[in-house]
Amino acid sequence: MTSLNKLNHIVIIGAGHNGLVCAAYLAKAGKKVTVIEAASQVGGAAATREFAPGFRVSSCAHLLTMLDKDISRDLQLESHGLSMARKNLSTIALGQDGEHLVVSGDQVDGKVSSADQVAFKEYRRFMSRFAKVIGKLHNRIPPRFASGNRSDLIQLGKLALDIRLLGRDDMREFLRIAGINIYDVLQENFNSDLLKGALAMDGVLGAFSGPRSNNSVFTALHRLSGNTSDPAGSLSLPRGGMGAVSDALASAARKHGVQIRTSCPVARITMEGDRVVGVELANGEQVLADAVVSNADPKTTFLGLLGARNLEAGFAQKIKNTRAKGNAAKLHLALSGLPEFTGLRAEQLGERLVIAPDLHYIEKAFNHCKYGEYSARPALEIVFPSVSDASLAPAGHHVMSAIVQYAPHELKGGWAAGKSAFTDVVLDLLEQYAPDIRSKAVMAEMLTPLDIEREFRMTGGHWHHGELSLDQFLMLRPVPGAAQYATPVNGLYLCGAGSHPGGGVMGSAGRNAAKALLAR
């Protein structure tokens, strides 16, 4: 048994980005912090790994869009090696006929009407503005309703004020659309099917929803809501892949004195009486702590590591009922050269490509998922990070990373049988846009939600550690009673994407958790 200085010792389960951010802030404030990670490298779902000899790819999240600028500054991530290989990626909506649209900032270029171009400027304006209201919540500990606590009331008042300050027309529009589906909003604003398809993609990425599902506007707003110095929703590719973000965070954390132990799966959270007193590792080692902060998802934390029997029954039931069905798969291709996409110049492969030709296409793709099937014609978000960052592939070679929707966590017939057929479905689809892609693919790796669940230890393979929706946001995330990072179990805290404000590699949940701990 390792005897660690018990006083002020905090153990963090999981060296994902939120765990590292939380650790760094706690250590900065003078706490003794140990981060315990199951995988052999830090980063969780913000990681880079080799998937074919010489080919490296961001294994889960593959674009940086929300990393909090205050965290970057406080932890001096640039001095710890974080740099961008490419910033402000455009989105290219791939047309089935080779006629593509290029969306950059508030500009749309390609075969669209001038009315759509004007409408898009307005759409960008109000979406960015509404996203700011949500973004302002990211770095606050969620207020509680009816707690009688003054600071809770002030927080709630601030939110009401932020909405009111939108002005009459924007406030009405915000309240009208924030909870509804993006299908209706896009239909109201645009004519181009291809533009609507590409924009709808932002409303369904990583969510168990189609464009016609309620909450898809909120998903799109959340994606634009990062507290960054770039325009809302700007996309970047970190040099060295997403793992570079985690490496910089780990380096910053270590500088502040954090001890990080990798390849140490936590078997369970240990209790003494009604208090959490540490963790037991899979190898039987006991690590004592005054507080345990879990960066694992809420179901893994409470029902797995702690055990429902150590919770009161109502709370355990609430955790069980949280929705965490991942339905996005990842496809990684190792390529002998850049494929040729019909109608695209080679350098345009450095941008973000979207295959979602229209709204119905995505909705139909989602229909399959509802019934435990993968999409016959999936919607894709594709990047070729090696175009901007040669370090990821051998010279002259390239890697492709695509988010593929939809793939259910539980496939009818099982993924063991269905995975290679699904990979073929996606490759067949890609061939329609890039006829030579198969011939250039040296190796393909498909990560189904089940694989993502296993590799990243996320229940349901859900990259937000639980559906990010209005009913699981702010003081409702993950559930009331645990939404302020402290949990009903003495000495146990949450700091992961399952807490407010969710995933998306922004780090805010980790920092808020540190704030909540330090305030106690």
């Binding site: 209790m271 009486g273 029997r309 029954a313 109502g314 355990a316 009903p488």
Partner: protein, 401 residues
């Protein structure tokens, strides 16, 4: 509960079941008035409420408690499960013993109360007033435990009163007199097993008999045959209501609102507010409601459920309770004229800080005399001891008759 068992039950076609004792109840039910208790027909009064009451106090009353909701809890985690479910420490309940218990939601508000029978090592029966299978299953997450609603599989009779032991002995239950209060034992009976527990809802010497429904009628017949010269009488629910108020027992839905029925969350009660602090064992590290109850203990309770001894002979049904300077202090939940205590007695839910033993209060009683309404502000006081507590309740072996 297994799905196939649910399907096999066609209870939704029947609005209400006849009890397995129905044929015998029908013969004895001179009033021919029936009421409903949970899933079953029940008898409010067989012939005369007062006489039935006195039979239980002076000889022996027999009450059909088949409708009581019963659950079987077993499996490797049965004890751990029950300990997380209820507020008391079930590990102290040895096999062959029965314990009273309450269970709460996370807010520390009482969902229901009931009795836990430790039937054999690791196998328990939990009786409750309300259907609890949903909450029990919800609470089972993370436990290796089997929970079955066995309400319809077990027939029950309460045999209560001073001659009850003598009657059971006469029926052939040798050694039944050695059962201590809250003890239980199984007897061979007519080719089946008859479970006997020294428990009841009357605050007197008494037993509860548990048997499979096929043997219900023969049990009834043998019992009444054995008690022929010991004043045995069937007991209806109205007489039982009198007996339980005298004994100071609370009733779900009457003295407190079961938490899962509450629309207004402030209308529920915690065990501390029901005078059941003795049932709450904070030494257990985890049980549902613990966190809220610890907070309540620190902050102070909102209510106190108390026993009132009221001057005069008017019954304080549904009355308001005031302080002596006539400020509102609470309401009556159960009231009666107690024939045994010769007093108007009541259970009342008082707002904090009222309810200290000995506190002098007023009860505003409205009563009719020949259709004319009258009002009296009756002085009353909070009392600690129950209104009916005879030594024979505890005496082992009980006196013979």
């Amino acid at each position: 509960m297994k799905t196939n068992e649910l399907k096999a039950r066609d209870h939704f076609h029947h609005h209400v079941y006849p009890s397995p004792f129905h044929s015998r109840q029908a013969q004895a039910n001179k009033q021919n008035v029936w009421s409903r208790w949970a899933d079953y027909l029940s008898v409010p009064t067989y012939y005369d409420t007062s006489l039935e009451y006195f039979s239980a106090r002076n000889s022996c009353g027999v009450f059909d408690l088949t409708p009581m909701v019963k659950h079987r809890v077993s499996g490797p985690d049965a004890l751990a499960y029950l300990n997380r479910l209820v507020t008391r420490d079930v590990s102290k309940l040895k096999a062959g013993r029965v314990g009273y218990a309450v269970w709460c939601n996370d807010e520390g508000q009482v969902i229901d109360d009931g009795t836990i029978f430790h039937l054999s090592p690791g196998v328990y029966r939990v009786c409750s007033q309300e259907h609890q299978i949903d909450w029990f299953m919800t609470s089972a997450l993370g436990f290796d435990v089997e929970i079955v609603d066995e309400t319809h599989d077990v027939a029950g009779l309460a045999v209560q009163g001073p001659t009850s032991c003598a009657i059971l002995k006469k029926m052939g239950l040798q050694g039944v007199e050695n059962l201590t209060p809250f003890g239980m034992q199984s007897f061979a009976f007519e080719g089946t097993q008859l479970g006997v527990s020294r428990t009841g809802y009357t605050g007197d010497l008494g037993y509860e008999l548990w048997i499979d429904p096929e043997h219900a009628e023969v049990l009834w017949d043998r019992l009444f045959e054995a008690g022929k010269f010991h004043g045995i009488r069937p007991l209806g629910s109205e007489a039982l209501e009198m007996l339980r108020i005298e004994a100071g027992f609370i009733l779900a839905g009457v003295d407190f609102l079961p938490a899962q029925h509450a629309v207004r969350p402030t209308h529920t009660r915690s065990p501390l507010e029901l005078g059941l602090a003795w049932l709450v064992d904070f030494k257990k590290p985890v049980f549902t409601g613990r966190r809220a109850l610890l907070a309540e203990q620190k902050r102070g309770s909102r209510y106190a459920l108390v026993k009132l001894d009221i001057d005069g002979n008017k019954v304080a049904h549904d009355s308001y309770v005031y302080t002596r300077d006539k400020t509102f202090a609470g309401t009556i939940t159960s009231a009666m004229w107690s024939p045994s205590a010769k007093a108007s007695i009541a259970l009342a839910s008082l707002e904090a800080p009222h309810g200290k033993p000995g506190e002098e209060l007023l009860v505003e009683i409205y009563y009719q005399r020949e259709l004319k309404w009258n009002r009296v502000m009756a002085p009353c006081r909070v009392v600690e001891s129950v209104f009916w507590d005879p030594p024979r309740k505890r005496l082992t072996p009980p006196a013979d008759f």
